[in-house]
Amino acid sequence: MGRVTRGYWLAGAMLLLGGAVVTRAQAPDRHVWTGVYTREQAERGKTAYAENCAACHGETLAGIDVAPALVGPNFLNNWNNTSAGDLFARIQSTMPLNAPGSLGGRKVADIEAYMFEANGFPAGDLALPPNAALMPNVRIVAQKPEPAAAGPACTCGK
């Protein structure tokens, strides 16, 4: 299936979900298993995470009493079938709790890249953009799609 075809497939799906997102449908479909951040970005993100996030979410991203884990099945299931843009927006608007809104877009993207790396998603050539509007088409897919279904694998229930 070519990229254009996939775009139409996505457009169809988006139409079913609501008209508000239709304008995004022309963007190429991507997901987190296709390499949506760079290794250098995740490396920077590791530092930014340590400075801004680890005090609550733990240095292993495992979470503590009052802050959830940012790695592992629970986290991934909770964000499955959302977009990298959704996660970016949530981080930027609400974190860190004691200074929400204080992190610049580049830093948020770096931190998100580090979270992706920690969750086992592969690095690629293109960095995560510093703006949620540039990644509504980057889907978070908890389970790596099987090779045959590479692309916009449907992770709907069976």
Binding site: A50, A55, P73, A142
Partner: protein, 689 residues
């Protein structure tokens, strides 16, 4: 057939009546849905006993799946930004819902029939709020009336107790200073009002004419300081805000319990707060106070001894704050087993007589059942020897109390039989993984983390099986219903030499990773330019990551609801609560396997009605239509059989409540999380409004 015909007839009647006027319409609806007098919900969990029970039955097994959204209330406009962790349960008094909401924890009144905003109270506390260890909306507010005056009380993010006129939302000028009591003052310790590490999510407890307020602090896995704020509990006069009493959860020299600390450690230790909800028996004049650990969630080297009242349930005199009895659930805890929720007060039959008892759910998934007049166990609780660990400078309790009844309601400790076993390959990988850790029964001690033995796998994990929402209690069948999750944690202890990170020489962590101090949020970090964590060795799951091929290490259920019969002290039924997570349903290694519903892990409080146990799911899943969301489910309370479910766009984040208003039963629940911002949703059955 007869019923169908009657419905059709009624439908016709409604259509005709609607053209005439509303009164006949109401009558028609009343025939469809037997209503009843309006009911109320005056406390966080229905009543001071924390039962979260209502005898209503208009919504029942036969019609639950027909529930519709009556109204919903987004909290996005409250506070400077959206909230995604919306934990309150509203109160219902005279047709008005009262709750805290939004990222600034505003207090609001809502029309319970329509969801319209009646009033909103906002207190901008600036940096003081940003410094608080307990952010966002909290668990809600409390109500008091003398039959004439009506007050709504809540604790702000910045730890101030506010009293509002329930009719208008205007602060009561007779209370404190212009309606506000600064809880960082008159606290038997000197605190910086801007930066002190204290806040509270719980609602203040109102009983008789006393408001009882607890305290919460930053998590203590890597405590920044040894001498943290002491989490004393206080009682205030509900009319004036004047402090009536204080109870030292960490006793001062000469006070009861001081001698349970070695070397005078109590003098310096902090924390020991009461961050959970509380319950009260006005007749006995007692308030039941669940206490957390003193400073150090997994390290006890500065709180040697059994250290009362750490992880103890304490009964205090409502009028004086004097201790009447206490029961320590864990001696010198090293597993972060803070008592997380209020005990449910229950009058249960024991040997032919009715005993005033209480039932305390816990993180460790024992339900402790005590006589609430004197703290004596209903069924024997026995001291059993437990293992000591190897952490330098640590002090270990030799025994821990184990209830003989009821049995534990979730997995305790980790053995090979508890490991994932969907396939022999997954089991084999899990067995290999746990060789890298210490495993054992409940109360296996945390150990020094080193490569190849990264720490102790603790089940339940440090977030507990049960956490802050607590359970519910059915007074008709003397049954407790409680949700718990099966989600282990790794507790490793690593040395720390950097006083700028922590004043503790040993802290919770994984060997090879740098430690990060936990400071009061917003307080200046002791060392802002910390080094990043060390690279993760190897290519497998990083140390501390308990998963096999991305699947949870332990067998399902991952989340469950248990019914516990207090007439016998037995488990009555147990169900996996929550649809199977996406990654389990779609996992290639599980293709072709028929896996029963696994439930999902989170923090949930169930609601009990005349016939049902009602609870929303934790976390999102993607349903058969490809839509993200969570279900609100109803179980037959006698058998646990699922009777219905309705879709919600986001998981339950605050425990549900219910009420009858104008002959319609409503179920109201707070939802949100992930990419879905906070929303209060009201469900009711179809019918003409």
């Amino acid at each position: 057939m007869l019923r169908m015909t009657r419905r059709r007839l009624l439908g016709g009647t409604v259509a005709v009546a609607a053209t005439i006027g509303t009164v006949p319409v109401r009558r028609a609806m009343a025939q469809e849905l037997p209503g009843g007098p309006d009911t109320e919900w005056r406390h966080y969990a229905a009543d001071q006993a924390n039962s979260r029970y209502s005898p209503l039955d208009q919504i029942n097994a036969g019609n639950f799946s027909d529930l519709q959204v009556a109204w919903s209330f987004k909290t996005d406009i409250l506070g400077a930004r959206k909230e995604y962790q919306f934990e309150p349960t509203p109160l219902l008094v005279k047709g008005r819902l009262f709750l805290t909401a939004g990222s600034r924890r505003d207090c609001v009144a809502i029309d319970a029939a329509t969801g319209e905003l009646l009033w909103m109270f906002r207190k901008d506390e600036g940096q003081r709020a940003l410094n608080s260890p307990r952010q966002l909306s909290g668990h809600g507010c409390s109500y008091w009336t003398d039959g004439k005056l009506e007050r709504i009380l809540f604790v702000t993010i910045g730890y101030q107790l506010v009293s509002l006129d329930a009719a208008t939302g205007v602060p009561d000028p007779a209370f404190g200073m212009d309606g506000v009591v600064d809880l960082k003052k008159d606290f038997d310790q000197e605190l910086d009002p801007e930066t002190a590490d204290v806040g509270l999510h719980a609602t203040p407890l109102v009983a008789r004419d006393v408001v009882v307020v607890g305290a919460a602090h930053a998590a203590g896995d890597v405590p920044a300081v040894r001498r943290n704020v002491k989490g004393y509990v206080r009682g205030f006069d509900v009319r004036t805000g004047k402090r009536k009493w204080i109870f030292h959860t960490i006793p001062k020299k000469g006070e009861y319990g001081y001698d349970s600390w070695l070397n005078g450690d109590a003098d310096e230790a902090g924390n020991g707060g009461v961050w959970a909800e509380m319950s009260a028996d006005e007749e006995l004049g007692l308030v039941y106070v669940p206490v957390e650990l003193p400073t150090g969630d997994e390290m006890g080297m500065f709180r040697r001894g059994n250290a009362l009242f750490g992880e103890s349930l304490v009964a205090l005199d409502l009028e004086t704050g004097e201790r009447r009895w206490h029961y320590q659930l864990v001696h010198h805890g090293l597993w972060d087993r803070d008592i997380p929720c209020a005990p449910m007060l229950c009058d249960i039959p024991v040997n032919g007589r009715t005993v005033k008892a209480l039932a305390q759910p816990t993180k460790q998934c024992f339900l402790y059942v005590l006589d609430r007049t004197n703290g004596k166990p209903i069924w024997p609780i026995v001291e059993r020897p437990v293992e000591a660990g190897d952490v330098p400078g640590e002090w270990y309790a030799r025994t821990q109390p184990f209830p003989t009844k009821p049995p534990a309601y979730d997995v305790q400790g980790v053995g090979i039989d508890d490991l994932i076993d969907f396939t022999p390959e997954l089991r084999a990988q899990a067995v290999e993984l746990v060789k890298q850790y210490k495993i054992g029964p409940l109360y296996t001690p945390p150990v020094v983390s080193r490569p190849g033995r990264w720490g102790t796998i603790s089940a339940p994990g440090i977030q507990g099986g049960t956490n802050w929402p607590g359970g519910c209690y059915d007074p008709e069948s003397h049954t407790v219903f409680v949700y718990s999750k099966t989600q282990p944690s790794v507790i490793g202890i690593i040395p720390n030499e950097d006083q700028g990170v922590s004043e503790f020489p040993q802290v919770h962590g994984i060997a090879g990773a740098e430690v990060q101090s936990q400071v009061a949020m917003g307080a200046e970090a002791p060392n802002p330019f910390r080094r990043p964590p060390a690279a993760r060795p190897g290519s497998g799951p990083p140390p501390g990551f308990l998963s096999v091929q991305g699947l949870p290490l332990l067998k399902p259920p991952y989340g469950r609801i248990t019914a516990i019969d207090l007439r016998k002290g037995d488990l009555k039924w147990q169900v996996a609560h929550g649809e199977t997570p996406d990654n389990v349903r779609n996992h290639p290694a599980l293709k072709g396997l028929k896996i029963p519903r696994t439930g999902r892990a989170g923090n949930l409080g169930p609601l009990c009605t005349r016939t049902l146990v009602i609870c929303g799911e934790a976390g999102f899943y993607t349903n058969e239509y490809g839509i993200r969301g969570a279900m609100l489910r109803a179980y037959d309370k006698a058998t646990g059989e699922e009777k219905g479910a309705v879709y919600m766009p986001a998981p339950q984040s605050g425990s549900p409540m219910t009420y009858m208003l104008n002959n319609r039963q409503y179920i109201v629940v707070a939802i949100g999380g992930g990419n879905y911002s906070a929303e209060l949703v009201a469900f009711r059955l179809p019918g003409i409004a």
